[in-house]
Each structure stands twice: as C-alpha cells, then as structure tokens.
C-alpha cells in the first residue's frame, strides 16, 4: 500500500511540474504568436521570433508585420456589431506598446482557460465521449491552434464544441 501511495504522489508531482512548464511555455512563447494570429498576422509557428511590442503595430493584409508607427494606433480588426454601435471605447489613449502586451496576455489567458476546460471536460466524462465536449464561446486562435496541432477535435456536427483527444486511454490499462 505504501508503495502505491508513493507512486501516486510521484505522479502528482510530475503532473504539477508539467503543468507549470506548460504554463511557462504558453506565457513566454505561444502567447505572442497566438495574439499575432488573432490580429490577422501569420499562423502560429510560421513566425517564431517577434517581440510583443511588434504586435502593437498590427499586420497588413498579407499577414506581414507592419512597421511600428508611433502614436497612431488604429485598430482595424473585426469587431462585433455591438462594439461598433455601442458605447464608444474609452481606451483609445493607450499607447501602442501596452496594447501589444495586452493582446499577448489575453491570448495566454485564453489558451490557459481553454486547455484547463478541455482537460477537466475529459476527466469528468469518464469514458462517455459525448460528455467530453466543451462549449467554446467563439472561434479563437487558441482553439484553431489546438485543432491544428491535433490536441483537440471539434464536434463533427457543431464547431462550437471542442474536446480533447483522449491520449490517456490505453487498450490494456
């Protein structure tokens, strides 16, 4: 019994270590790339080395990085109708550098929430595959990235629902 306890403890330790390193990877590398894709830039993995400050400049239609211009922070991204018609946004005065960083932070948070939800969804479904789907509010670069890297799959009839591919299941556990 004590041996088994030891084993489960060591698994727990390993798991938390892995989760920590994944978080670090998301924050340090993936976030900037996801934010770039969200803004119409290159797809994740296409451009590997740019700074968060570059994000503020945005991308042109071909997905190439624009040269950062100071001061003019014209947000040309798609918006929901209510954003356009609704309250005028109050954060027009933000300077470019912080907006780039915000994009990256937002993307990182997105990614973290999504992976967490997916993991929990799969763990709670316990073999019932139809229950493992997680409702996603809208299409994000994070979801696209997970699909592309074959970590998650869409529901065959409804692309608003996503589930993790079951890596844990084995044929003779």
């Amino acid at each position: 019994i004590s041996e088994l306890k030891q084993k489960s403890k060591s698994y727990d330790r390993e798991t938390s270590k892995l989760l920590r390193s994944m978080k670090k990877f998301i924050d340090e590398h993936l976030a900037a790339m996801l934010a770039a894709e969200e803004m119409g830039g290159p797809v994740v993995g296409d451009m590997v080395d740019f700074e968060t400050d570059d994000l503020a400049a945005g991308f042109n239609a071909q997905g190439r990085l624009k040269k950062a211009k100071d001061g003019t922070n014209q947000d040309k991204r798609q918006r929901r109708i209510d954003e356009i018609w609704g309250q005028p946004q109050e954060d027009e005065s933000r300077d470019a550098a912080t907006s780039g960083r915000d994009e990256a932070t937002a993307a990182a948070a997105d990614m973290r929430e999504l992976t967490e939800a997916l993991l929990n969804g799969l763990a709670q479904s316990e073999g019932d595959y139809s229950a493992a789907y997680v409702q996603i509010p809208r299409e994000t670069a994070a979801a696209r990235f997970l699909i592309r890297s074959k970590v998650a799959q869409f529901h065959p009839k409804d692309a608003m629902r996503l589930r993790l591919i079951d890596f844990g299941r084995e044929l003779d556990d």
């Binding site: 993995g45 451009m47 890297s149 074959k150 591919i165 890596f167």
Partner: protein, 226 residues
C-alpha cells in the same frame, strides 16, 4: 581535411549565392567524396545536420548530395535525431519538403546504427501527426513501422489512422502501417482496413546499406588499432 570543407560549406550556407566570394560546389564535392570513402565522424555529423536542418541559402542539389553521402562512421547520437525530427513539418523555418523526405530516408537507412533509439520512441507522436503531409507520408510510415511498439498503439491513433486511410483511398503505406498495428492488437484493428495493397517497407537503397556497413567496419578497425 573534412573540417575545412564543412566550415566552408557552413559559411557559404549563410550568404546568398550571388554574394559568395568562392564557389561552394567544389567543397561539397570534395566533402562527399571523403564521406563516401571514410564516413562521417560524430562531431562533423552534428555540424552537417545543423547546416541541413536550419534555414540556409544552399541549393537543393548540394543539400541532397550531402545527404546522399552522409555515411556515419560510428553511431548516431540522440542530439542529431532531435535536430532531424525538429526539422519536419510546416513552417517558415523548416527545410523544404523534398529535403525533409531525404532526411527521413536517411533516418530509415541509419536506423540500425542509432546510439540511443529512445529518442525516436519519444518523438513518436510528433512523427505520427505528420502522416497527413502527403509529400513525406511514405517515409513517415516506414519510420513508424520500424519504431512502433505495443505501447504506441493507442485507441486515438488507430482511429486517426483508419480515417486517414479512408480519406486517402487506402494509401499503400498507411495500409502497411495498419498491418504493423494489427500485429500488436489483432482483435482491435479489423481486417477490412488492411485488405488490399500494402507496402512492405523494403530498404530504400540496398547499395547504400552495404557501403555503410563497409564504412562502419573499417572505422571500427581503425579505432581498435589506435
């Protein structure tokens, strides 16, 4: 002597052809002749793989010919494998698919002289996920067939293999890989999918294999005499 050529090639790989001070072709040719005669030492192999797998300005013909005569004199280290595996797939910083195919072919041919084959097992998922890239699929299947072990055969892999085989109209290489899977779990992989033509994963170049064996043997004798 080999060092000098490798350095020349590495230097030339960083500049555009029109800006080069000297031709790279002679260096490549001399290096290849030497490699064909004596094989590549582990340190040199590491440097050459670096040149091949990172973005460079060398022409396809040179890269291909270097790969064709890349006979390892002794074993191949795990680091080299990691670099090769990391160069696969899509992305601006990866070599062209033709070169990736050649790299995979090389992997298949040196598979038996790998010093630490755990590396390939650990990158199983990465290789598996590249199966949808048609340009390198046959080579990927061959490698997977070589390294698949019982623990790699997972439900989600069986599923995606079957659906991929369906989509591609039963690609022969995929059918071959499915047969490997079937060997491990005959009761799960049903016969329907493994019917029809399957590739048998023959060695891509028997002549190359024989030459490699000669080089390895000669090198072993040389090191023993010292």
């Amino acid at each position: 002597a080999a060092r000098r050529h490798i350095e020349a090639i590495a230097k030339a790989s960083k500049v555009l052809p029109r800006n080069r001070t000297e031709e790279v072709k002679p260096s490549v040719e001399k290096l290849n002749t030497r490699n064909y005669e004596r094989g590549v030492l582990p340190g040199d192999l590491d440097d050459l793989i670096d040149v091949l797998t990172t973005p460079n300005f060398l022409d396809q013909a040179s890269l291909n010919s270097i790969l064709r005569s890349l006979y390892p004199a002794s074993t191949v280290s795990g680091d080299v494998l990691v670099k090769v595996v990391g160069a696969l797939g899509h992305g601006k910083r990866k070599p062209s698919l033709a070169i990736q195919g050649a790299l995979l072919r090389w992997l298949i041919m040196i598979h038996h002289v790998i010093d630490n084959s755990g590396v390939l097992s650990q990158s199983y998922s990465l290789l598996f996920n590249l199966l949808d890239t048609a340009a390198i699929r046959t080579h990927i299947c061959h490698i997977l067939a070589l390294i698949t072990r019982r623990r790699h055969v997972r439900p989600h892999r069986i599923q995606s293999l079957l659906s991929l085989a369906r989509q591609t109209g039963n690609d022969q290489a995929l059918t071959g890989l499915l047969r490997v899977y079937k060997n491990y779990y005959p009761e799960i992989v049903v016969g329907e999918a493994v019917r029809g033509k399957a590739s048998t994963f023959a060695h891509p170049d028997p002549q190359w294999r024989d030459r490699l064996a000669e080089i390895q043997q000669a090198h072993a004798e040389r090191t023993r005499l010292r």
